[in-house]
Subunit: 232 residues, 2 copies
DNA sequence: CCCTGCTTGTGAACGCGCTCACGAGCGGCG
DNA sequence: CGCCGCTCGTGAGCGCGTTCACAAGCAGGG
């Protein structure tokens, strides 16, 4: 057998699995029953060997000479990612971003229903966003307990983010997705991921700046890495 | 002299520079004139040697025995990231996310004013979000040209993302920030960054799942990596 | 039943980024 | 003016992730 189940999977691979899962689901919907690592690699815009190595961490689910059975592979990826059941999430902060997240149906469809959204501002409480009623910040613990929430989303302004995280942790949440531009301090064992939209723009800005500088110096622009994705 | 200016900077470093910049700006606002690499590292939740190596790519701006002058370092980081001038961005898609991005003031404050937002749905056209009027998709090229936009944001549903990207490229945009769960195909030389909110949740789900599995097997939970950030 | 063609799974090599450790050099004090 | 302490800048070593290349092995046809 190859890499047995239960092994630790490299973080880089974990980050790619959701993408594979999405592509596999699309393929299944399109009536495709089998995919080769090369086909999947083309769809994802990566190397075929990387796809095979990534999938080999899950177990030996391919058939030599044929490829992978889409439906079975979907099941295995979902199982490995822990997506065999839903993970309700609670959102702290009903501002622009919090509202957009709550209203964005994609979360629920992908297995992350919004169990609740809370805000410190009483003026926002009781308004309904995407079918979910905004509740008081003090209700956070009750929501987490009653719906067994383990993932919290921080969508507050920067100044309120640390307290939001503290409250989430106190309520029993063990994973946090942080959208505030702040480095959160959390106890060991709590998993935090940060998404900073402005940072992404600043990274793009760097390469734009670089391109402009190169052009100004009369040099050929360095071709930036660009995905070679599916053309469908 | 150390690493000269104009050198290529590793991508991992580029991704951290915006975070340093944010922390430095906060420090300056707090009246701090000098920081050591260790102080900055603590704030950012990383290793001090990493901070020094990262900053050394910009040039030799520290003073041995003293540290870095905050104001001067801010200037240098901003210059390297191309943030000495604003980068207007255009948003395609005025749905939940597009509205939130347009309404979120943080973009403008950080040097990325919203030059325009367009949508294919005429019902949304002419509504005003965050001080910006929604315009027709066909106006995209005019917006890009008149305001010299080089960065586009794709905030459409998955099905419309590729066409949105094609139109952005055709209009002259050279960098794209993609929020749609799709791998975009773009010509060489166009820089694409992708942010998929559901993917972030799925990554958290993996570690939650793993924790649950370990606990179920009677094993001690593996402590997940957690930032040791500033407590302010 | 054997042979051919195709695709997986994986050892090996490579390259990048992170960490360590220390020499270089500045500022301040006596 | 010389010494001391502190912090930067960076070469060296290490570990992880990516890529390459190929043996293993399945399916299908003759």
């Amino acid at each position: 057998m190859g890499a047995a189940n239960g092994r630790r999977i490299p973080e880089a691979t974990v980050a790619r699995l959701p993408e594979y899962l999405r592509l596999l689901t699309e393929s299944l919907d399109a009536g495709i029953a089998n995919v080769s690592s090369e086909e999947l690699a083309d769809l994802a815009g990566v190397n075929a060997a990387k796809v095979r190595k990534d999938l080999s961490y899950l177990g030996t689910y391919g058939t030599r000479g044929v490829g992978y059975e889409v439906e079975y592979l979907i099941y295995q990826v979902r199982r490995e990612l822990g997506l065999t059941h839903d993970w309700p999430v609670v959102i702290v902060g009903a501002g622009n971003l919090g509202q957009a997240l709550a209203g964005y149906g994609g979360f629920g469809q992908r297995g992350f229903p919004v169990a609740g959204i809370v805000d410190i501002d009483d003026a926002k409480v009781d308004s309904v966003i995407g079918g979910v009623r905004v509740r008081r910040l003090d209700d956070l613990a009750a929501i987490v307990r009653s719906q067994q929430v383990s993932i919290g989303v921080v969508a507050t302004p920067a100044g309120a983010a640390q307290e939001a995280a503290d409250r989430l942790v106190a309520a029993g949440v063990t994973s946090i997705l942080n959208f505030a531009p702040v480095v959160l301090t959390v106890p060991l064992g709590i998993n935090v991921r940060k998404v900073d939209l402005a940072v992404e723009l600043q990274i793009l800005s760097y390469y734009e700046q670089r391109r402009a500088a190169a052009a100004g110096a009369g040099l050929a622009a360095v071709p930036t890495s660009s995905h070679r994705g599916a053309s469908a």
